[in-house]
């Protein structure tokens, strides 16, 4: 995957580029709007990360120019925290998603993944990671053939982690997804929930699947050590 980052703030562009390369994704950076548009018009990019306020040409005009020329590359817009214009909210301008600054890189990556995966996806009924098995229809979880006794919320939490297996899911995103809560508490309640889930999923077994990524979130994967 080749991504074009159009961002005039050098440090921001650099950490996005570096972060993406960690996941093996190549990216180019354009520091002004006109250059960004010219590069995007070549059609060789699979994804665009676009700032709104840019020198020479703003993000809006880049998008409308691209869409006018029928270049349907997916776009994630970066906006300031205080101004999420209704245009972006409605995503009516041809933007696929938006990120509010300051944002977590893991969040940006998660959204890139989500958008790239869009389109026809097979609805899997049974998810598997190592010896963990989730039967989505029967709402049953088993590990090494043993049934796990989970509450509905715990099942939802585990499903989220298994679906995105191998991907670090940011804490705020987990809370948003599972409890639909806008967290504003320093008490790290999510840790308590995760501890409970781990007690059921990991504690009785030798191989641990749920891992904490400190300062970011959680990931479920089978790790060889």
């Amino acid at each position: 995957m080749l991504i074009l980052i159009v961002e005039d703030e050098v440090k921001t562009a650099a950490f996005i580029k570096k972060g993406l390369s960690e996941y093996g994704i190549l990216s180019d950076v354009a520091y002004d709007g006109e250059e960004g548009l010219q590069r995007a018009l070549t059609g060789k990019y699979d994804f665009l990360i676009l700032d709104i306020l840019l020198p020479n040409r703003d993000g809006w005009s880049i998008i409308s120019e691209l869409r006018r020329r029928r270049i349907d590359v997916p776009v994630i817009m970066l906006t300031a925290l205080d101004a999420v214009p209704s245009r972006v909210r409605g995503l009516e301008s041809g933007v696929d998603d938006y990120m509010v600054k300051p944002f977590a890189f893991s969040e940006l990556y998660a959204r890139i993944q989500t958008i790239s995966r869009r389109g026809p996806t097979l609805k899997q009924e049974v998810l598997r990671v190592a010896d963990l098995e989730l039967d989505l229809e029967g709402r049953r979880a088993t590990r090494a053939g043993k049934r796990l006794d989970l509450t509905p919320k715990e099942f939802a939490l585990l499903t989220l982690l298994v679906r995105r297996s191998g991907e670090v899911i940011p804490r705020t995103r987990i809370v948003e997804r599972i409890w639909d809560m806008d967290v504003d508490s320093n008490a790290n309640i999510l840790d308590v929930h995760m501890r409970r889930l781990r007690a059921k999923v990991d504690d009785p077994f030798e191989v641990k699947l749920i891992h904490t990524v400190r300062g970011v979130g959680y990931v479920l994967e089978e790790r060889q050590e």
């Binding site: 925290l81 205080d82 209704s86 909210r89 409605g90 995503l91 998603d97 300051p102 919320k153 809370v175 948003e176 409890w179 639909d180 809560m181 806008d182 504003d184 508490s185 320093n186 008490a187 309640i189 308590v192 929930h193 501890r195 409970r196 400190r214 300062g215 970011v216």
Partner: protein, 512 residues
């Protein structure tokens, strides 16, 4: 309708504004002058008519007198006395008489009449027609003359004629002098009238000019200054009172804004100091990867704190100026409370606190904000509590779609003297702040803001032990179906919802 739009500056351009002073001067002077002119003209024309009538009567009476004398005392001393009275010079309106026989020969004549009104200037009417016309003319010397010529009926002795002339010079002088005086008064009066008007209007607008000066002097540096209206006229004083109360509100907002900025920078200083300090210390020597990782992680945590702080501040600021779109819909409050309790339950259990809820109520609220408010109270209840304590949420329907929510805890409680202050931004109770060292002091202000957005109230109840917070959500004034999927513009009496009807209907669920 949308106060987010740039507001017109409201200052009219210089060319469009008319001066009150000039307007009053012109209007007042014109009115006074027109009054004076019509009054004087009326007087003048009345006087002129009166004098004219009097002169004609006098002329007629002279004719009658001559006829009378000739009929009874033909050509004697009596006629001579009438024609040449002894003291003619004393007369105000001097009269001249000429008596003619039927052939037109002169029988008697006032002295000097030949010079004043020669016979040629009279026109006798045709014989048999007694009265002649009264005419006015100017003689050779330019004097105004009123004269007439009449055939006399003298009985059996036959007929004769008389010519009578009046010298109108004195009378015209009266009118001329009157005119002069009137024009003089007008010419002098107009400037006087303008001056007096100017004085009146200057006096009348003095308070306005003083107000302008006072208001000009008010700036951010002395927002406490007020207009002193006590010796201004009532109309201006009431404007001044209104402006003073506007200044009160401005000052209040400004002070709160300033305090917010001060508090905010203070709050930001702590995480910034930590981040900077840890980074500097880490860079001072060679560090192991593990040590560096800890520094970076700690930096991330501080970064999270800053981000949350900014989000909360922005939430409050947007709510305050009505920029926060509400997405109200009808729902079961218990479901929302259950979600919150579900989230906090493990934490409560870990701290040994019994978290429970009961009751049911249907409400029309913004679900995310509703949960945010309840969550803030539940979190406080758990945080400022002790092991073995309890937090209970009680729902009660208080009316059609109106509900009361009580969040009761057995915790530290809020002293009576702190009960208003805890709703101030950043305020934290000193005695219990150690229970949540990273608290922002924004929880209850956000709860109050959410309640305001819903037109509801938040109150702290009664005496301890513990704290009881009561949220009152009023019934929405609009039928619930309007809150969702309707194409009708919202007409709820709610500020924010009214101002953003389009955003209320926006569906943002699809991309969160």
């Amino acid at each position: 309708m949308n106060n987010a739009e740039p507001v017109d500056s409201g200052v009219p351009s210089r060319s469009r504004s008319r001066s009150l002073t000039v307007w009053f001067l012109v209007a007042n002077s014109t009115a006074v002058f027109l009054l004076f002119a019509s009054f004087t003209s009326l007087l003048y024309f009345g006087l002129a008519k009166h004098l004219n009538d009097e002169s004609r009567l006098l002329l007629q009476s002279e004719v009658n007198a001559v006829e009378h004398i000739l009929r009874f005392y033909p050509l004697g001393q009596m006629l001579e006395n009438e024609v040449n009275p002894s003291q003619t010079s004393e007369e105000y309106v001097k009269h001249y008489i000429r008596v003619l026989d039927p052939a037109g020969r002169e029988l008697a004549e006032t002295r000097g009449m030949d010079a004043f009104a020669p016979a040629a200037q009279f026109r006798l009417p045709p014989k048999g027609q007694r009265s002649g016309t009264v005419r006015q003319w100017e003689n050779a010397a330019g004097d105004p003359v009123l004269g007439t010529a009449v055939w006399l009926n003298l009985g059996k002795d036959g007929v004769g004629a008389v010519e009578v002339a009046l010298d109108l010079g004195n009378m015209n002088n009266i009118l001329t002098r009157f005119r002069l005086l009137a024009f003089g008064a007008g010419a002098l009066g107009l400037p006087v009238c303008l001056l007096v008007s100017l004085a009146i209007v200057r006096r009348g607008t003095r308070s306005l000019r003083e107000m302008t000066e006072s208001v000009r002097g008010i700036s951010v540096a002395n927002l406490g200054a007020r207009l002193s209206w006590s010796d201004w006229p009532e109309e201006v004083a009431s404007l001044a009172r209104v402006m003073n109360s506007m200044l009160d509100r401005l000052q209040d907002s400004f002070e709160r804004l300033y305090n917010s900025a001060v508090n905010l920078s203070h709050k930001m200083r702590t995480p910034l100091t930590i981040m900077r300090g840890e980074a500097e210390v880490a860079l001072a020597h060679e560090r192991s990867t593990e040590e560096l990782r800890d520094v970076i992680l700690s930096g991330l945590e501080e970064n999270d704190r800053l981000t949350r702080l900014i989000e909360n501040i922005l939430f409050l600021a947007n709510a305050e100026i009505g920029k926060l779109p509400l997405e109200r819909r009808e729902m079961e409050a218990a479901d929302q409370v259950e979600m919150v309790v579900d989230y906090y339950e493990p934490l409560a259990e870990e701290k040994g606190i019994a978290l429970s809820w009961e009751g049911a109520a249907r409400v029309v609220v913004d679900p995310a904000l509703f949960r945010k408010a309840v969550a803030a109270l539940v979190a406080n209840g758990i945080t400022y509590n002790h092991s073995g304590g309890s937090v209970a949420v009680k729902l009660r329907q208080t009316g059609d779609l109106a509900c009361e929510i009580r969040v009761m805890d057995s915790g530290a409680g809020i002293p009576v003297e702190e009960r208003e202050k805890v709703f101030d931004r950043f305020y934290r109770i000193y005695a219990t702040r150690f229970l949540d060292p990273h608290g922002t002091g924004l929880g209850l202000p956000i709860v109050r803001t959410i309640m305001n957005l819903h037109g509801g109230t938040v109150a702290l109840d009664g005496a301890g032990p513990g704290t009881t917070v009561i949220l009152n959500f009023p019934a929405a004034a609009v039928a619930p179906e309007l809150f969702r999927g309707s194409t009708e513009p919202m007409s709820a009496p709610h500020l924010s919802a009214e101002e953003h009807p389009h955003e209320v209907r926006e569906d943002v669920d699809s991309y969160c």
